[in-house]
Symmetry: C3
Subunit: 362 residues, 3 copies
């Protein structure tokens, strides 16, 4: 357990207050206790410091002047970037397990024709099919099933019970979380004589470098070509990417999103939770789909779309407000009707000698 001063030295930080107190853990401001260090990243959090029980707080240099009066026992550690320093502190205070070096477990099921690179771990209960090639420093967890012909780069982690069907291509520095399924057949049938006859899927899936895929996500194989996940794209849990989709680079696809067949996205697209993209729809560079948005038409680059069907956010917000005006509008209409009737009587009175016909054929 380091002292605050020892921790500060590792973080190149400056201490104000008691630098000899021991720090046992790092915690969020609401949960920190006496032996903990916490951090504040913005003015709102700072206001909560007066009621905080942490032994020390990490503060960015440009926030130091705006600190409220602190509890007397709380020391301050001044850094450039409070959030980054807090993560460094966590790394020191909660040492992670060392990566094991088990190599290929004798209890794994590895085809004799598979090639496994240096320093790669294949855990007990993992299955590696014929002609698979796996690079160096990979971790293939228990229960992972890799179909024949797959190609996997370096520094890849496949967590427990991940399934890769045949011929899936995975780049380097890729992480796929537990129970995700890559390369199952796309959902394609042709109705012949009253029966849905399966369209064969000859393509596969290509996952580029630095992609991360969450738990229980599905990415189906292409019908002819590849379903592609571009470099650096991050996909959350329970996402569905259908056959022949091509996602650009550095997308963020949040949980429970669905991409229907042949949908495509350019770089830096963000799809918030439970949104969807219909088949063959294209999402332009940097576009954002709000949570629950359902894009049934192309989304232009840079646009923020929301709603079902998805449209520009400003339009949707305006349109959503419109029905709220209806009760007032109805009141106005009723008032106008009464006024018109009253005017009509007054005109009748004025024109008494004349023939009256005050109701036009509406």
């Amino acid at each position: 357990m380091p002292t605050l001063q020892e921790l500060a030295s590792s973080l190149n930080a400056e201490v104000r207050g008691n630098s000899e107190c021991f720090i046992q853990d790092a915690q969020a401001i609401e949960k920190a206790g006496e032996g903990d260090i916490t951090f504040v990243g913005d003015e709102i959090k700072m206001r909560n410091l007066s009621g905080c029980r942490a032994g020390a707080v990490i503060v960015g240099r440009d926030h130091v002047e705006s600190l409220p009066e602190l509890p007397p026992a709380m020391s301050v550690m001044v850094v450039e970037d409070a959030a980054a320093a807090f993560i460094e502190a966590l790394t020191i205070l909660r040492p992670q397990r060392a990566r094991p070096t088990i190599g290929i477990s004798a209890q794994a099921f590895v085809s004799p024709s598979a090639q496994v690179g240096e320093q790669t771990n294949v855990h007990a209960g993992a299955t590696i099919g014929d002609d698979v090639i796996i690079g160096e420093r990979c971790d293939i967890f228990p229960g992972v099933c890799i179909g024949p012909g797959c190609r996997i780069g370096n520094d890849v982690t496949l967590y427990s019970n991940v399934v890769l069907y045949d011929d899936v291509v995975v780049g380097s520095h890729v992480q796929i979380h537990a129970c995700s399924v890559i390369g199952a057949d796309g959902f394609g049938y042709k109705l012949i004589d009253g029966r849905h006859v399966k369209v064969p899927h000859f393509g596969s899936v290509q996952i580029d470098d630095h992609v991360e895929i969450g738990a229980s996500t599905s990415i189906d194989r292409g019908m002819i070509g590849q379903t592609i996940i571009g470099e650096g794209t991050k996909i959350d849990d329970q996402v569905m990417i259908a056959h022949n989709c091509e996602l650009g680079r550095h997308n963020l696809i949040v949980s429970q999103v669905g991409f229907a067949g042949s949908a495509t996205s350019e770089d830096y697209v963000i799809c918030a939770g439970q949104s969807g993209v219909a088949d063959h729809v294209h999402v332009g560079k940097g576009a954002i789909l709000a949570s629950r948005a359902a894009a049934n038409k192309d989304v232009p680059a840079g646009a923020t779309y929301m709603g079902i069907p998805a449209r520009p956010a400003a339009e949707v917000i305006k349109l959503a407000a419109a029905p709220k005006k209806i009760p007032e509008m109805r009141k106005h209409i009723r008032k106008l009707e009464a006024q018109v009737e009253h005017l009509s009587s007054r005109i009748d009175a004025l024109s008494e000698p004349e023939q009256s016909s005050s109701q036009p054929a509406a």
Copy 2:
């Protein structure tokens, strides 16, 4: 195969009719045949009895008087609580398999540093990591993967292919269904130089006593602290609980619901199917989210919310009706326009000698 009288004795029930008929199975009213016993729990079901082919029917004491005329071959079994007695009858008529007592299978992959309690079954193909502690009378099914450092209480069932990442804490009397993933990293990245850089997740997941979790559900680990599922909460299949969520006790979370990061709920919350709770949103005690509701703001205790975004149900229902009034309103407006024009002409006629200017600048 018991006679109706034998079954009645086990259920402390009174028989009216032929108590010597054999009962082979218990079935719902629409599906019951000659050798089956069925039950009626309400007046609506009772009306269906006349067309029912069951040999016997279980009826609550307070419904006996309201029974319609029954088919002549149908006997009646009178009990206090018809639904409960029917479940008891099922238990007798469809004996379940005895729990096997296999202990730790020789074909399971168990770390030497793991501790497994008395009468716990660890099936073939299950993997138990370093320093795991499992209590007594647990069932760890085939293909389950338990990461290093997990702590599991007593009387826990982990069904096939469940995955627990490192350091997950599971209470007692917990059931987790097949292919659920507990403790994968939360979806957190920081955009640095055009790349999404992963925020490390130092926390874990804590699942309290008497929780049940359905199949293919994901519960991600916290960033600093724990993602928490409170005591007695029941979660259905394909639910997503993101990092740092804290669910209260005795919640019911139905299938395909999503809780975004740091969302929280108090006790006795109900989230119906396909609903969602946005990040950092708090759902108050006993609140109900209707199916498909998307809560993007805090939901007060006791409230029923529906819609996208979720609002009080009464408001949503009223607002949904408003647009239906639009066609009629448009008709009224057109009629008013015609009337005003007509009045205007009449005034023109009356004031002929004067200068006319009947169109105001609208």
Copy 3:
């Protein structure tokens, strides 16, 4: 690598152009290169041919006359059905792996009381419980877990890590993709003394012939009877079918759809992506739920429903347009108000000698 003529002979096709060129692969029109054959199925695709680099194109006999001017190096293969011929070409150009004949792997975990038919493969790491009966020519992939008492027909494929709970009945010619879970307990509880007490589930799941089920789909077991998936029905990835549902024959259930408890469908129903059917709701023969539709009432046979809650598509489309008229309606109302006020002043002027009372009590 066949020549175009050789390929044409296998496909009973007629070649126009250079029949001796070698064909190495079949590709979509946008991706085809020099050595590839492609196909056009409609007039729109045909327009893209002039910029296509494929060595040959498959064209239906009735489209040949409407072909645009082709690049000089592109040959034409004339067939009856272009799409079908293209799939045949793929089958020839991309030979699939032969099905292995491994029988029951010594590394599978098979109960001595299980019966496995002729020519069935049970891969390493698969688990087969007591009293299971599996037919002929099945493939049970690694990590599959089949609970006690299951009955599986002939020509069934269970992909990696599929889980069948106890007593599930699967017909013949069924495919279930990776990580799907069949037969977990339904989500049923009774609130007793503030706790949700589990309702036991005595039923199971019955999957009829020619059903295909995607990856990570959940089908829960019935409470008393069976949850049923009718013959020839195709289910995509991440679909949830709750307890006691009964789906008809030849349904198409697209990804991320949810069927709540006891929902039913007749034959030829289509549920598009992310749609939902509430508990006890019945979907009539041939009805279509659009993507995201949420059926909370019965859907009549042949109807197309959309929206939340789902209603006839025509109604929903009309109603969705209504709020867009509101801004214009408000303008009309304001104009009318000004006109009425103006008319009122004119009448005041005309009737100056009289007592004026131009504002009725609205």
